[in-house]
Every structure is written in C-alpha cells, then in structure tokens.
Amino acid sequence: MSERASVPKEEEAEPETEQEPVTTGAQSVIRALENAGTDYVFGVQGGAIMPVYDALYDSDINHVTMAHEQGASHAADAYGVVTGDPGVCFATSGPGATNLVTGIADANMDSDPVIALTGQVPTEFVGNDAFQETDTVGITQPITKESYFAADSDTVGDNVSEAFALADAGRQGPTLVDLPKDVTQGDTEVEPGAPETPETYDVPEEADDENVQEAAEALAEADRPVILSGGGVIKADASNALREFAKEYEIPVITTMPGIGSFPEDHELSLEWAGMHGTGYANMAISNTDCMLAIGTRFDDRLTGGVDSFAPDAEVIHVDIDPAEISKNVYADYPLIGDARNVLRQLFDAMPRAPDADEWRDQCQTWKDEYPMDYDTPDDEPLKPQCVVEQFSEMTPDDTIVCTGVGQHQMWASQFWEYTEPRTWVSSHGLGTMGYGVPAAIGAKLAAPDQEVVCFDGDGSFLMTVQGLSVAVREQLDITYVVLNNEAVGMVRQWQDGFYEGRRMASEYPWIPQFDKLAEAFGARGFTLESYDNVEETIQEAREYDGPSVIDAHIDPGENVFPMVPSGGDNGQFALNEDHLDMI
C-alpha cells in the first residue's frame, strides 16, 4: 500500500477547516478541483505536471497512481459514468498527454463527464519542440467539448473551474486544461471562481410546449409505439421518469447499448437492447414500429444499421439536449430539445391518452417467444461464454456494476446479464476501445465502494491494459475480472469467418499467457475455469476473495455472437446463425 492510498479521508478531515489561501497557480488548480467536490484523481506523475502534484500533496483529494495514462483516462471515465460527476485524470506533457487521448476520445463518443489536466512545457518553450512537448490542445480539440490552454497563473484556477462545469453541463463530455509548468509554478493569490459554464454555452432545459403537445398526440395516435431509451436517459437521471412514463402508457421499451439499465430488463415491457447484436425482438420492433419516442440517443450506425431501413414506417419523436443530434442521422418529425427528465415529465402531462396498442404488445411478445436469447450447453463441448455470464448474473445483487472491454465478451456480457438499474453497465460503446475494462473497473469500484464490481474482458482486450491489475492490487479493490478466453480477437475472427472467407489474418493467438498465474504474479487471486462442473463454485470463490481476482475462463473458441445485423443492414433482417448470414 502506498502511503497516500486512496481510502476516503472524510473521517480524518476536520469539519470545515479554514482553507489556506493559494500562493501558486498549481494550488489554484487543486483548489478549483476541491471546490467542485473532487474526491479522486487518476493519474501518472511526470516532469511538467510535477507542480500540480506537489500542490496535491497538501490536499484531501485522493490520488490513484495508474500504471499507464490510458488507464487514468478510462478510470476517470468510469468514475464519471457511475457517479454522474466528472471524473478527473492527470498526466504530464508529451507522451503522458498522448496516452490519455484514447480515454478522452472514448469519453467524447459516449458523452461521459471527464476532466483531463495535462502538464505542458514552460510557456517560453512552447512551439520550440522542447523535451516532452506536444500540441495537446491541438490534438484534443476535436475530441473534447473544449480544450483550454492555461496562459496565466492568475486565471488557471478559473480555467479548471470552467472546464469542470462544462464537462458536467448539458450533454456531458470531456474537457481538458493544458498547464504549462511556469503557469502552475508561478505565484498568484487569485482564488479560482466557482464552477460556471462559459457564457456562450447554452443548456436547454425544457422542450417547446407546442412541440411536446404535438409529439404526445402523435404517440397517443400510434398503433405500434416504442420507446428507444439511450444513454442520455441515464446521464440525465431520467430512468425513473422513463419507467413511470412507459408503465403508465404501456409502451414497449427498447434501449440502446449505452441505455442499458435505464429500464429493467425483467419488466414485461422491456425488449432489451437493439442494434447489431441486440435482441431479435428489439430489432423486429424497431423495424416495424410506426412511432418511436427516442430519448438521449444519437442514432449510431451500430444501432440503426443502414438508415434506409431503420424504423422506416415510424414518425420519430427525438428528445435530446444537444440540438446538433436532431436530424443528424435520422430525421426527427418531432424534435424535442431539452433535458430528458424534464421532457419526459412534460410528455407525461401532455399525453391525451395511452396509445391503443394491445395488438402490438402481443406482437412484441410473440417475437420474444420466437427469438429467445438462449444457447446450447452440450456436455461434450467446451464451456459456453453465455453460461458464465448468466450464472454470474444470477448470483449477484441487482446493483452489481458490470464493466467490459470491447469485443465478443462485451456482447455476451450485455446480452446475458440481466440489467435492472442505471449506472450498472460501464462499457466503451462509440469508440469501441479494447482495453477499457481493467482500468474502468478500478474507476467504478472507487466510485461505488459498496457495490459489487465485475469486469468481463476478452483475452485480447485484457492484455491491452493488464498492467492495471497492479493498481487494483495496490488499492486493494474488490473486483472480479472474468476473462472469456477464446485465444483470439474473437470479433475480428467472427467477421473474417463471415465476410472474409475464413481468412483468419492476425486474429488468433498461437500462444497467450496463463491469466490465473499472471494474476497471482500481480498479487491478485487467479482462477481457471474449464468446464461446466465448477462454474458456480469458481465464481463464488472469486467473489468471496477480498481483493482483485481473475477468472481465466477457457470458453468454446468456436462460439460466435448472435443475433447479428451485418454492418449497414436492415435491423429486422438479423442473422441467428452463420447460415443466415449468407441469406441476407
């Protein structure tokens, strides 16, 4: 354990002690974070960020030293997803900053609140190709809500306050402040201002009443209505409002992948999630709906397939807090710009009646019966990954948080775990970042120390950020990692088999480490799982171990992810197996 381990220090903090006035830019930076309520910072030290770390020495903010800056940005991202407040990450200039980039881009695609603070070479060296210099603002501008270059010790605290507020406001997302060393080292007595968004940044609150009224009429008139609940519903803390609305008006609910958890999957109105590997019933409902209430979704291509065939009979009511998402990919017949929770309340009040949709609900139920999410478990065949996920799901409480990497394991974890609560599904959606899982689980566990945290990973994904295990061990985090090990980059191999005539180029690992032993080398507990005989016991043992554990689950390497809508395809034309792929 490091001396400054990240055990919450609340108990030892004096109640409302008088804060020392700031004397440097770096202290102003830390003060801005304290004022914004920061509990944890994830980061890696380095030359240009040293003054900021030095100021952190005197702060009550907990710092988690990550093994790699990519892990710092993913951990901050997951922390932001689970708490709803911006996660904070630090890195030094040059390679520190560029290593953060993947996590920042990931947060940007998934609208996760993150603030990144990067060291920079002293102002007088900027532009001279100095040691560890890189144009961090230039690199990150396209993947943040805004990147700030701190120009002055007197205003650097304000920069951080504003960046913090901006990351959290409206459609959440990442912001960055680049901190030249002379600016953080420089003297100042200026305390940072309160976190306020820039004056040019408008946050729409409620949708136009007339539009709401028209949308409500259209929904009430519909014969085949569905709700498509996106990640924005969770981000807006609108899950309860959604549940009330859907249950009151008895409208079937489909979620997007980031929207998983916004509606309980065990409810009869739930069709679970739609898209490339979504359920057959969700995709059939998408295809055949005549009115879609889409909330907090950007109609990503993995959800829509080809837009020509996406809900082609549907009038679309699109609720979003970001006007730029309206009609970007799918035309909105009824644009409702505002906060999802507010707009759901407006719609609730505006509905003249429930839609007359008995027949449609029956139809949805028929699809549920026709396309169940099941799988075979023949005793003479290797372990099926679905079984591991499903068993684990059944053994854990509803508020268990599931993190994942990216690939086949991610799809199984989303398909076969039953999600009922918001902020329990923590994954990399838009960017599809392999390696997200290991550090994300660290951020998630620190964000919710009282909730169980499970991370499903693939062997390929796990290897990309496995060094993060050292952090989980050092911080004594009770996380269960399950590597669904098929000795391949399985999703790529699945596509090679489906679309590249089985030419498996660079997708199979002729040799990979023994993950249980690797875990032990890091100081975690390692388990191996090879057959159906001991699935439950192994999971139970790993869960009971108080600290990070890794289950190396050797799964059937032949198992692929279905249903599948091929890229650009028609949602209703999903394949249930390899043979169907040739048909569509």
Binding site: L166, T200, D308, P312, D322, F574
Partner: protein, 195 residues
C-alpha cells in the same frame, strides 16, 4: 424454437433516404447541394480559427471560403463561411458550429445579403494602358506598377471577380490572391439583432 429466418419475416414497406428522412419509395426526394453563406461571431482568442476550420474538415462539410477579421468589439471576431451542401448539411453545419464553445452566434445570411470579395491580380507590365482600361471596366485600380508588372485590385461579387480574372488573362497573369467572401445582411438586421 428458432423463429422465422430473415427472408420469412414481416418487413416494413417504407424506406428512408441517406439523410435519414422517410421517403416515398416511388418518388424518392433528393436534396441538391446549394451554396450558403454562414456568418458567425466568435470569441477573439487563440485557436478559434483552427477550431472552426477543423470542425468543417472532420465533419466533411464542403467549404468554399472562410474569412475572419475583427469587429467593433475587441473580444469578438467575425467569420464568413461559404459552404455548399444539401439542405440538411447546411442545418447540421450551423448546429455543429453553434456548439463550439468560442462561437457566440451563427446565422445563414439571406440570398440578397451584400457579399464582397477582394482580389489582387499581378499581370505583365508590357501594356500598362490596356491593363488600366480593363481594370476600369471592373471598377478596379492599379495599386502597384513596375517596368515588368502591374498589380490590380478588384472588389465585388465572386462572379465579377471571376470575370475580371478571365479578362486579365490576355496580359499574362503572373499571380493572383483572393480573400474569399465577406458578407453582411442588407437593411438594419444584424447577427445579434433581428429586425
């Protein structure tokens, strides 16, 4: 019991076009690109030009020209951006632009807005009188002359400058520079004030 295979399932009749708009399959509507003049007030600070130009390139908006300069307010600069896009693309460009933090306001200027561009044309100095005569035809004037070259300044609409440059070709054009359009709404209307 697996349900019907893909080709045996019920399928909707409708279709959407590439812009995600529902269309009548019989009479598919396509939006033809048109030119639009976007005028934006932006915070006058380092990096704002690259932020705006990067937005247009990464989102693949077809941009013809972009000019930027100060306004009466020291804190604000004004950008005039000519784009050529189908209607949904123009809307999207406005919305994305509005989303950038340093952008204060954005508006598409109406067709009759005053648009001016400036060009400097350097031609051979062999026939200065003839050059002057052509410059006069386009309300231009010589702004520099030497024994070997004459540089002429022309302002006006894009069409006028295109025509002038065409006319100057007879004098062996050596170099051209054009500013791109600057534009303002006609009448009392401004970016901040609807009248």
């Amino acid at each position: 019991m697996p349900g019907p295979a893909p080709d045996e399932r019920m399928r909707p009749k409708g279709r959407r076009n590439t812009q995600g708009i529902r269309v009548d399959p019989e009479a598919e509507v396509t939006h033809e690109p048109r030119q639009a003049v976007l005028s934006a007030l932006v915070k006058h600070r380092p990096g704002v030009l690259s932020e705006v130009s990067a937005l247009f390139s990464r989102r693949q908006f077809n941009i013809e020209s972009l000019t930027v300069g100060p306004t009466v307010d020291d804190d604000t600069a004004r950008m005039t951006i000519l784009i050529e896009e189908p209607e949904p693309g123009i809307d999207q460009a406005k919305k994305q632009l509005r989303k950038l933090v340093p952008v204060v306001s954005v508006r598409e200027l109406e067709g009759e807005a005053v648009r001016r561009e400036l060009a400097l044309v350097k031609v051979s100095g062999e026939k200065p009188d003839d050059v002057n005569a052509v410059a006069d035809m386009y309300d231009g004037q010589a702004v520099d002359a030497s024994t070997d070259s004459v540089t002429v300044e022309i302002t006006g609409s894009k069409q006028k400058i295109d025509a002038a440059i065409e006319a100057f070709k007879q004098f062996d054009v050596q170099e051209i520079v054009r500013t791109g359009a600057a534009a303002l709404e006609r009448g009392p209307k401004t970016l901040e004030k609807d009248v």
